[in-house]
């Protein structure tokens, strides 16, 4: 069993855990949490570098061998650590006070645990752990709705049940119901990803409660991780139906969320529909079962994470600047006072919906090709949804940034230096990645090839 040269994953997770423990009581929690996130980022970066140099295959952590780095998780781990750091830095002062930074680090720890899992047990642990910060009320007075909590818990219960059925020895009575695992597996993914008809959970989560922790939780994309991991180990017959169902659910979610957004005017809800629709492209791409679709999906994973985190952070930054962006009766016209935030928002949004010249375009192009090869009608739904999403993005931009500035908004600051730098890095990633997509696609090609090879075993068509 090949190993990493140093226990990077253990150290990174330890940094995150240490950060949680320190920042929960610290006088300046943002500082200690950001430091922990930065250290974790460096460790995950080193692990990703080693994994990339090693090529296909996985490298286990020498200290805790139930964690590994491979083509699928190495880059997302480093990327997610960078996102955590960015959110820590970008968080407005009121969102980076008290136990909130510790809570966000705990979400990061849970997601990274699930990413790095070499077996089902740490993955299940990661899923359950991600519920903890919300259950402990680490984000102050900002409470979640019952719907959100229920759907999240349902996903954890379903995953636990799926794992129990999947790993039951054939001699036990439970093995008779082995095919049931795919049912629970589908429930877990649908709940976690907020696929149709449970997309309302994500919309509620965005609308009520703390926004930045939701950005971290949403951009973990643990549903996609689960699908990708399950592809390699699942039972052929059951897996085929599960992937077929998930593919249909993903395409339906893309279409319905993009259409539903036309009836929305609240910025948070509009943003939620936009993110759900675009994030569901990933699952559609992975379940397209060909190399173009899978590579596109794995690249889109990074695009959605970077772009939607940028958008969410900007919306939150605006919310704390003006008294409320809730249900504006007219346009807020904030571009007059915050032109840089407006530009960051527009660029992140256009990358999210796949404007040519950004990385989002390359990723979506590959997903479309993948889908059109196997399911022509589904591919057309995705195309129509991108058009709808682009229109909704501009509606959201218009609502927040254009129009007459309300009288109560006298003077608000434009992007502060601590906001400017992370957002610029985010934009550079999306734009330079779009100009030179070979680099980013190269990061994901090993994982895409491995997944595609494992598809015939998992019941996919493996169609070229």
């Amino acid at each position: 069993m090949p190993h990493l040269s140093l226990p990077y994953i253990t150290v990174a997770l330890a940094c995150l855990l240490g950060g949680v423990l320190v920042s929960v009581k610290a006088a300046r929690p943002r500082r200690s949490a950001a430091l922990a996130a930065a250290l974790a980022f460096l460790c995950f970066l080193a692990a990703a570098h080693e994994s990339g140099s090693a090529g296909q295959g996985s490298l286990h952590d020498p200290l805790l061998p139930f964690f590994l780095a491979d083509g699928l998780n190495a880059v997302p781990m480093a990327f997610y650590a960078a996102l955590t750091l960015a959110v820590m830095v970008l968080a407005p002062r009121r969102d980076a006070a008290g136990q909130a930074p510790a809570g966000m680090l705990l979400i990061s720890l849970s997601v990274q645990t699930a990413y790095a899992a070499a077996s089902w047990i740490p993955m299940v642990a990661g899923w359950w752990l991600s519920c903890l910060p919300f259950a402990l009320g680490m984000f102050g007075s900002q409470r979640e709705t019952r719907l959100t909590i229920g759907i999240r818990l349902a996903s954890c219960v379903a995953l636990t049940a799926a794992v129990i059925f999947l790993s039951a020895p054939s001699t036990t009575g439970i093995a008779k119901y082995g095919t049931l695992w795919s049912l629970f597996f589908v429930i877990a993914v649908v709940c976690r990803k907020g696929l149709f008809p449970l997309h309302a959970g994500v919309v509620h989560a965005f609308e009520h409660g703390p926004l930045l922790p939701k950005a971290l939780l949403f951009n973990g994309h643990l549903g996609v991780v689960l699908v990708a991991r399950a592809m390699a180990v699942s039972q052929p017959a059951a897996a085929h139906h599960a992937f077929e169902f998930l593919s249909m659910a993903a395409v339906a979610t893309v279409g319905i969320a993009s259409l539903r957004a036309f009836a929305e005017s609240k910025p948070r809800r509009l943003l939620a529909f936009l993110c759900i629709s675009q994030a569901s492209f990933m699952l559609a791409g992975i379940t397209s079962t060909n190399i173009e679709g899978i590579t596109g999906a794995l690249t889109h994973w990074l695009v959605v994470s970077a772009a939607s985190t940028g958008l969410i952070c900007i919306v939150r930054a605006l919310e704390v600047r003006v008294s409320s962006t809730e249900d504006p009766l007219m346009h807020l016209g904030l571009a007059a006072k915050a032109p840089r935030l407006a530009t960051f928002f527009l660029l992140c949004g256009l990358a999210l919906v796949g404007l040519p010249g950004t990385l989002g375009y390359c990723a979506e192009e590959l997903i479309f090709h993948g889908m059109l090869q196997n399911h022509l009608s589904a591919g057309i739904v995705l195309l129509v949804a991108t058009v709808f999403n682009a229109i909704n993005l501009l509606r959201l931009y218009n609502t927040l940034f254009l129009g007459v500035l309300p009288k109560h908004v006298i003077n608000i600051p434009d992007a502060l230096p601590r906001e400017r730098w992370p957002l610029t890095v985010c934009i550079l990633f999306l734009v330079l990645g779009g100009l030179m997509p070979r680099v980013v696609i190269g990061w994901r090609s090993d994982a895409a090839n491995s997944l595609e090879k494992s598809l015939p075993a998992a019941g996919g068509s493996g169609h070229h």
Binding site: F262, A263, E264, L383, A390, L402, G403, S445
Partner: protein, 432 residues
Amino acid sequence: MPLKTLIPLLIATPGALFLGLSLVWLLGAGVSERAMARITKAVYSLLTLLAVIIGWRMSAEGAHSVRVLIGDWFTVGHYGYPLTLLVDGLSLPLVGMTVVLVSIVGFFSVRYLHRDPGFLRFFLLLHLFTFGSLLVFTADSLDLLIVGWETVAITSVLLVGFFQYRPEPVRNALWVFTSYRVADLFMLLAIFLAHHWLGTTSWDGLLGAEEGRGIHGTVVAVLLVIAAGGKSSQGPFWGWLPRAMEGPTPSSAVFYGAISIHTGAYLLLRIEPLIRHSWIATGLIIITGLATAFLGTLVHRTCADAKTSLAYASQTQIGLIFVEIGLGWSTFALIHLISHAMLRTLQFLRTPSMLRDYHRVHAAAGGRISPTGSHYESLLPQSVQVWLYRLALGRGFYDAIVDRWIIAPIQALARWLAIFEPRAPVKKAADR
């Protein structure tokens, strides 16, 4: 310097300028008006020089076309995204026209937008637009063309909403963007179906493929005709051009008088062999062009403001260019396109002083200038005249039709979808 270096340099320069200046500004530094003006003048002088050198070198070498293979943008499995540029007898005049007209408009705008709060934004978008349009005219495949095509669209929309503190430009920018995106959907479909059926989107592959002469070629051609109609505000996309007049006059000149509005016609000229094989596509172009030209000239006569009047006049002329392309008069259509772009740019740039010009001419003529076309109108029966007048005054009732038959049903469906969201309060969207 060889042509294969000069051509990418010509296209990349405005794009690099946009990226560099945007990054500087985003990081907090300011770019003064004077610096921006000097950079713009220097860069567009260089671009004009480059375009002249390219034309001269091609003429001297007797090269009818130059193809620059840069490689694949990215490759996955069997699918590669080709980066190939083509300069030939069709694209070279349009590249030259773009560089010259954008230079003129850039020089004009330095004074026109002096001390405007959006000075920097305007020039950044102008550079991005130049990059996009040069890419459209030199792309050797549909795959690459759409990159420039959508870049032109987004810059166009952002300039329609340039005066962002007024509600009307904001609303109209959204309308224009929606029209563009719907038209782009047909372009994207055409691209993916071309890949699916014909295995390529390069001009050579697309126009020379055997399969391109059958039903598959017809479908791709019809989709591209609709996309071109969207870009040139023809047929069902007739309504966005007058709304786009909310932008500053120089951008109206370069986008809707000169370049952006003609990219649809350019696409049709480029895919002409594909169109020739399909009577459906040919008929669609002619009918679309004729209908738009008729409506455009009708509405143009009832417009009260100069820019809107010019917008409808542009639509009329582009409708005629479409008809010429449909009839196979390609060279005539190209000459018409370039001369129309030149004339219309001049007219748009003169609109701020049009009234003063008119008064001067009116006085010089001794107050005897009669409106054109009144003779032909008087030949029609009175009832038809009234009916046409109502139609023209209501601008073909386009907005009402779109509102009632497209926007309202979509919004109703969107509201109905809320049944999957427990206790989700849904309000009617404040804007479209």
